[in-house]
Symmetry: C2
């Protein structure tokens, strides 16, 4: 029963979060929910239209992850990270897209995106997420949030490694 | 004398090209020239505002290049590549940003962008670039086009490897 209520709470929270996020990008309330699937603990959803957002930086992960990644950001995120504004303002949303590395079939020295693996979202709301540095986290596989245990690891790692950058690993690539 | 005229021709052509490119993205003529530096042979310039364009896909290059890359596209490019439209329509512009790979200072298994290396541009104009598959090429280091000899290698490589994809290596990463 408790977990059922938590789950409903997360769904509601996810919806509200989406609304806040989209309003800051000028979209309508109707656009806010691509999915009812919100992350455990944080209630973060995959923001509508994120694939059209501006690029912050690419990255690669060595084995065993063996991924190519790109972080995109909404307008609030881009403005802040280009101006090196810290902490990031409320409404900032960062989305990391990850793909399995694949050798290019056209040019051997190149590695290109294979199967998409995860979509990872960070949402800034200093009040709502006060206990986790102001950030809410969501990690999704095929649009479905991973379990609570995995979400419990997000903040600890960010806090241990990049607290001095407002908990954000990615830097803007010019 | 001949090369002087070619060079002036390239500059003029670059200006016109910029104009065409930007018009297709709805910008004003005033926005068209970030730089007078146009590529040899093709007269391709770095398009104004390209860093705000949508992301098509990341990639990585093995040593000796040892780079992380991201390809961005203007609206015409994004629409075409998302819909798998081939050949790409006139006005398509693809921009590849390349960075030296660097180990993340915050998370050892991650590779992140170091020093920017090149910006590479492909512009589609079937009539103007009829002899090179409809594409004009520009390769820039610190905003300055590389020499003619390097530009002479662009089309041959694209033609040998990806003629069946309208000479474009990059595929859209979802």
């Amino acid at each position: 029963m408790k977990s059922k209520w938590r789950s409903i709470g997360a769904l509601l929270a996810g919806g509200l979060l989406g609304l806040t996020a989209l309003t800051s990008d000028g979209a309508t309330a109707d656009d806010t929910q691509t999915t009812a699937a919100a992350s455990p603990i944080y209630g973060v959803t995959i923001p509508k239209g994120y694939r059209e957002w501006q690029m912050i930086a690419p990255a690669a992960e060595a084995a065993p992850l063996d991924e190519l990644r790109v972080v995109l950001g909404n307008e609030t995120a881009i403005k802040a990270i280009r101006n090196a504004t810290l902490p990031f303002p409320d409404g900032t949303i960062l989305v990391k897209l990850a793909y399995r590395k694949k050798q290019s079939d056209a040019f051997a020295p190149a590695t290109v995106p294979g199967q998409p693996t995860t979509v990872q979202v960070m949402v800034k709301d200093a009040k709502r997420y006060a206990s986790t540095g102001g950030w809410g986290f969501g990690r999704f596989i095929n649009g479905v949030p991973v379990d609570q245990a995995q979400h419990e690891t997000c903040f600890a790692c960010h806090a241990a490694r990049v607290k001095n950058r407002d908990y954000v690993f990615t830097r803007f690539a010019p």
